[in-house]
Each structure stands twice: as structure tokens, then as C-alpha cells.
């Protein structure tokens, strides 16, 4: 289920800017733990952002997106009360969705 994301969305002159931080280790599968055992890959593969029900951004990620990923983008529109949601799915099938309401 993962830990909650921090999403900030602000609308200025009809454009909504979204800034999200996601809590995820983004393990590449190339690192070893202190005992020398390989640490299995564990990273987000897919991200989908929606403005209400409309997809405003989709992304495919590899393991080279940094730990605790940051994502910023802008879409046209956005009014007070609208929802902006972000969903991620990782390579283990785990996923998490968080949303904010525009003010």
C-alpha cells in the first residue's frame, strides 16, 4: 500500500501546476545489502495523474527515477473543488492513489 504522497496543486491564470512527492525506495536491483546479498528491484513502473476523471499525465518509469520520486507538470484548467489524483503502480504490483482538492 505504501506511504501517502504529498501532492500540491495550484491554479494560476487557468493553468494548474501539480507537484508531487511519492514515498518509494526505487531500488534498482543492482545494490547489495551490508551482508553482500543483492537487494531486489523495487520501483514504480507506471504513474497516472487525473484531473477529476480525465487523464492529464501518464508516465512509464524505470528504476533510475530517484528514491522518493518527485514529479511536476502543468495542465490547462482546474477550478476550486476539482480533484487532482495521482496513482502509481510498482513492479511488485503494489499501488497507491492519493488526491487533493483544488482550492
Amino acid at each position: 500500500m505504501g506511504n501517502p504522497m504529498r501532492i500540491r496543486a495550484t491554479t494560476t491564470n487557468g493553468v494548474t501546476e501539480v507537484k508531487a512527492l511519492m514515498s518509494h525506495p526505487m531500488e534498482t536491483g543492482l545494490r547489495k545489502d551490508p551482508s553482500g546479498a543483492p537487494i531486489p528491484a523495487h520501483h514504480i513502473k507506471n504513474v497516472t495523474a487525473k484531473h477529476n476523471d480525465k487523464v492529464v499525465l501518464a508516465a512509464e518509469w524505470g528504476a533510475a527515477v530517484s528514491q522518493n520520486p518527485f514529479l511536476q507538470f502543468r495542465f490547462n484548467g482546474g477550478a476550486p473543488g476539482d480533484k487532482v489524483s495521482i496513482q502509481w503502480t510498482d513492479n511488485t504490483g503494489d499501488s497507491r492513489t492519493d488526491e487533493v482538492v483544488l482550492t
Binding site: 493553468v15 534498482t28 543492482l30 545494490r31 513502473k45 507506471n46 480525465k54 487523464v55 492529464v56 499525465l57 501518464a58 508516465a59 512509464e60 518509469w61 524505470g62 528504476a63 533510475a64 527515477v65 530517484s66 528514491q67 520520486p69 518527485f70 514529479l71 511536476q72 507538470f73 502543468r74 495542465f75 490547462n76 484548467g77
Partner: protein, 190 residues
């Protein structure tokens, strides 16, 4: 000329297509998007291009926001903006990473072709961005050719790339391949 890109895609088969490059970047509407796994698993830039379908043309219409020198390769802020009209996809690649393709972003109509994120960079090398753009160009055929009133739609597709040099002070710890080539200058005192 504010044509809807996605609805255009569905009728594109019946229209004359002009591609400016040999690129065969996966052309699917967002709903049918399939992750290009081979491109993510590719171990060199050429192989990434090959799995995406071709070599992009160089472009100065991609704008980067990256630091000239990054303190820590594990987290390097990167923003990429495409100034090419109709840009619907942006990809970020790091040349010397074990897998160069880092991320691909798809922008539906109404989303600015801009993204900002943070990536792992194994060692000092070039960071590349690819942009894919397609738009309908309405061509008015000249009257003297006897085609009065006809228009035809061209789907103009572009697949471009640009690179920017990044200096890494401290190598990303996960990068086994590159770290061995150049030991990170880690001071034990901080």
C-alpha cells in the same frame, strides 16, 4: 488550428502520412499505451533508439533545466520542456546508466509538454531528452492544380533529441558499471 490529436489518430489510417524521420515511436493513443519494456531494458543509447523504432533528429527545441554540476548523482533534478507544437511524449535518458532510458511521459491534449523530476545519474555524462510530436497540418491545394476547395490532412510526425552535459560530484551508489570506471571522490569527513 486546434485539432484534437487523439480523435485524429483514429482516422489517420485513411490520410496521407508524412514522417520526417524513420522513427516508429510507439504510436498509440493513451488508452492503448503499452510500456516499451525492451527500451527500458536496453543497455545502450543505440539499443534504446532501436527498440523505440529509429534514430531521432537533433533538435534545439528541447529546453533542459538541470544543474551543471550535481552534488549527488543519486538525485539529480531535471526538467524538460518541448517547444515543438504537438509534442505528446517526452523521454529522459542518461547515457552512462546501466539502462539509459529513465522515464517516458505522455501528455494528453491540454497538458503542457513539460515535466520536472529527479533522476539517478551514474557518472559524469550526457543527459538526453527525446520528444515525440505529431500534429495535423492542413494543406490547401493550389487552385491552379485544379483541386479547388480541397484540403488534405498531413500527419506530421517528429522524433527529436537533445543532450546536455551533466557533471556528477558523487556517483550514484547503485551504479555498479560506471562507478568502477571512476571511483567517486568521497571524503570520509563531512
Amino acid at each position: 488550428m486546434n485539432l484534437h490529436r487523439r480523435s485524429f489518430l483514429t482516422m489517420s489510417a485513411s490520410l496521407l502520412t508524412v514522417a520526417t524521420t524513420a522513427a516508429l515511436w510507439p504510436l498509440r493513443a493513451l488508452a492503448q499505451w503499452v510500456r516499451p519494456d525492451a527500451a527500458f531494458e536496453a543497455k545502450a543509447m543505440d539499443a534504446v533508439y532501436a527498440s523505440l523504432g529509429g534514430v531521432p533528429e537533433a533538435s534545439s527545441e528541447i529546453v533542459f533545466g538541470t544543474p551543471e554540476i550535481a552534488e549527488n548523482g543519486a538525485v539529480v533534478p531535471v526538467s524538460v520542456t518541448s517547444k515543438i507544437p504537438g509534442t505528446d511524449q517526452i523521454a529522459i535518458l542518461v547515457e552512462m546508466n546501466p539502462n539509459p532510458l529513465v522515464a517516458m511521459f505522455m501528455f494528453p491534449e491540454g497538458t503542457e509538454p513539460m515535466v520536472s523530476t529527479r533522476v539517478k545519474v551514474a557518472q559524469t555524462c550526457k543527459l538526453h531528452a527525446l520528444a515525440h510530436a505529431q500534429r495535423q497540418v492542413v494543406q490547401h491545394l493550389a487552385r491552379d492544380q485544379g483541386h479547388a476547395g480541397w484540403v488534405r490532412g498531413l500527419r506530421k510526425q517528429r522524433f527529436v533529441a537533445a543532450g546536455v552535459q551533466l557533471t556528477i560530484n558523487r556517483s550514484s551508489p547503485w551504479a555498479t558499471r560506471c562507478a568502477s570506471a571512476q571511483p567517486p571522490p568521497t571524503a570520509s569527513l563531512k
